[in-house]
Amino acid sequence: MNSSAITSVPVFSTRDITKVYRMGEVCVHALRGVTMDLYRGEFVVLLGPSGSGKSTLLNILGGLDVPTGGSVRFLDHNLTQSTDRELTQFRRDHVGFVFQFYNLIPSLTARENVALVTEIASNPMAPAEALALVGLGARLDHFPAQMSGGEQQRVAIARAVAKRPDVLLCDEPTGALDAKTGVVVLEVIEQINRELGTTTAVITHNAMIAEMADRVISLSDGRVSEIRRNERKRPASEIVW
């Protein structure tokens, strides 16, 4: 596979980040000191049992949340010391999100859901182009309610990549889909990573999906338990589960 796009420039680097959720008397330690790097253009899969802190980590990388301790850098931005306003600007300029439950705006069509994001981006592609990229060129004017789960997820991906983000963060993008649809969605993500060179991090429970990645980072109980480099990236089309 073409790995030449991957460089040794770290896009993200986290040092010792912790995250504590305080709920009254009880403290939940979601992250207990995570140190890792994410390099430009690479495809990383985050693996780990439920509750191990994957989503928490991804949210912190994406600027949706801030860590309790430690530091997070995105290129020359220090995300730990950013204000809410700066984090918003960071998300707007650099990050594309894909959520497990799609989170499309039900009152907007596929094209408009994408436009919602391209309208506030500096160098976006046309919404139609982004939707063509995910194979939905023919469904531009359909509302979310008129689409299947897999189609909705592909709209969500189009929405995430249309602004040509530096990083694409996906939290269990196939979690709500069957295998066949899941593969279609994964192929789209793979293609985005390959063709646009977008640094991509995908959370999954599925070890098979991990074989698509350049690197696999495993979390358990709020810590990085293993980082493994795949010798050979398996294409999404070969994945079965």
Binding site: N59, F97, Q100, F101, P106, E119, Q152, R159
Partner: protein, 789 residues
Amino acid sequence: MVTMRAIHRKLLRNLWAMKGQSIAIALVIASGVAMSVMSLSTLRSLQATRETYYQRFRFAEVFASFKRGPLSLQQRVEDIPGVAGVEPRIVKSVNLIVAGLREPAVGHLISIPDHQPPRLNQLYLRRGRMPEAGRLEVVVGESFANAHGFQPGATVDAILNGRLRTLRIVGIVLSPEYIVEMNAADMLPDFKRFGVFWMPVTEMEAAFDMDGACNDLSLTLMHGALEADVIRQVDNLLADWGGIGSFGRVDQMSHRFITDEISQLRAMGLVTPIIFMSVAAFLLNIVMTRLIDMQREQIAALKAFGYHNGEVASHYLGFVSIIVTAGVVVGTGLGIWMGQGLTQMYTRFFHFPIFQFDMDWVTAGLTTLVCAVAAMAGTIGSLWSASRLPPAEAMRPKSPGEYRPSFIEKFGLQRWLPQTWRMILRQIRRRPLKTAFSIFGIAMAAGVVVLGNYASDALDFIVDFQFRQVQRQDLWINLAEPSATDAIHDFHHMKGVVTVEPFRALPVRVHSGPRSRRLSILGMAPDRKIFRVMAQSGDEPPLRNDGLVLSAKLAELLKVKIGEYVTVDVLEGKRPTVQVRVMGTVDDLSGTNAFALQPFVNRLAEEGPLVSGAWLSVDSKHLDELYAELKATPRVVGVTANAASIQSFLDTVGENQLRMQGFVIGFAIVIAAGVVYNTALISLSERDRELATMRVLGFTRAEISVVLLGELAILTLIAIPVGLVMGYGMAWLSSRSIHTDLFRIPLVIYPSTYARAAIVVLIAAVISGAIVRRRLDRLDLFAVLKGQD
């Protein structure tokens, strides 16, 4: 459309999807705004119209009448410092015989210069022409003319100076002095039995042997002159000519009547809209809060994509602005339209020769501001809490809320509760604040309906109280002048008379410190069956031989308490000035009165046992004969039938109030429906996922309806009694504000009003429930469960 941003489309689609709710909210706003604009604009217009009328037709400022004096008095009064202009006149009260009218009527004949318009109190000629001297021609006030269908050319018989003469009506006029044509002796206008006529002065002089004399002066004052000083000097001057006390506009009957009407309108026009606006603002706040709450996930998603808080806020504020703007625009338009109608009605009622509508833009602006602030506050409040929600929330499905067993279940009663009812109770229990707000909102709607109906209850009560409990006479007879008691004995012998109660009405001016009032002290017999002095509670305070019992309103105006003294200038006979003690007060509903036993009043006036009239109860079979006999009795100058008074009351005060009430009730219903509808729809959208899941689990449509409609039913049932109590409070506020000389509106609410309010809210609930039920039936399970909001 091509360039419209996606986020703006989202706004429009949200509006469209919630069109029912948006319209309901806009209507609530429109109701509040329309009420305010209507009543305050009408008020302004009425005041402005009256002011213009007064100025253009030179309404006098001080009025003085006396027995008879030389025309040279004009010069002497003009010399009083502060007096700007003086118009001497001859004014005479005469008995009229009107074809088709059984009972005698009273006319005021007023002199006008032969060939030019009077300098003060000028006339507006509505129809016909002005009279010429030497042919017994008169012009007549429009109210009397209309009451009898007189056109120019008609004639009226009058007894002038003891001789029956026929007056020829050549014109119909309006006068700023008689905007309301009523006799100063009466409590209410009676257009059929009281008329005002203007006649050339030479004719008046001849008819009443008043050559070179006059008995009435109208004055205007210089700017900054002290009215009280002028009145005192005029009174001193006129004392030699039999003056009965001059007075300013406050004591002028017509002026006072309109002032009262305006202040009633002001009370209605301020308090009711304020209540309406507060209700609308409150509801708006609740509804917006909940609407935004429902959009939390979308807000989080927008933020995750990089929308700033400001952009998200302006998106939702845009949504609110559209609704508020629509409500305000519709409400203002409606308010102007109704205000014009109402002003027109008042213009007709008061016979203003000019129509002037003054839109109250300040009110419109203010109400807009109130609505906008209320809506924005609700929106911003919940946006604030939504924006503090980390956008990470958007990545998770909504976490299930925390539920606990409801208190009913604590008592082990759940065995009898089906699952669905447990869901309802736990839902209510989980969000007590939200539940409380919903109840409060529906309750306010019920309260507003109570308020809307309250005024007509109060009117019913006044009519019953004033005309069936207090003044139970069939006829009220006034004598031409105070007479010995035998004048009354004659009445006993007239056919049809059952009971006769004599009274002495003594015109006085009552002072306390700088405050003073002109009124008549009523001296009565100790045991009265016909005319009673009665408090609202039904108690009858005993009248005294050593002091006065005052209307509570009069005591309040004069700022005197029981046991204190007031100065009484008697304005008749020997005109003594005496200190009189206030022995009691009575919270009567009408007029500013002073009561005592008759001997006390006679003693005040330093006169013998004189009476000024009597109250009669009459066998209605012989009413016609009695009227005929009274017409032939020269001593009798006024006969007022109680039935006519009631009619007149209902025609004047009643009709205007009820028209206004109609609007209030209409709006109250709109508000009630708007609130209940919104509450129902919001809880539907909040729980659609849950309900869809239940459908999937095999519950029937009817069963899932129970979850939602059961909650609505419980909220409504709790809200209704709360609302009735709130309605009582609102009525109390409004009764506090309607407190004029002429009438006090008591705080009376009949059970039927409560029932009506409950029914309106119930109907609104049933209709809203039906709409929700229809929505439930069309609930798209698949879409809901796919995770759509």
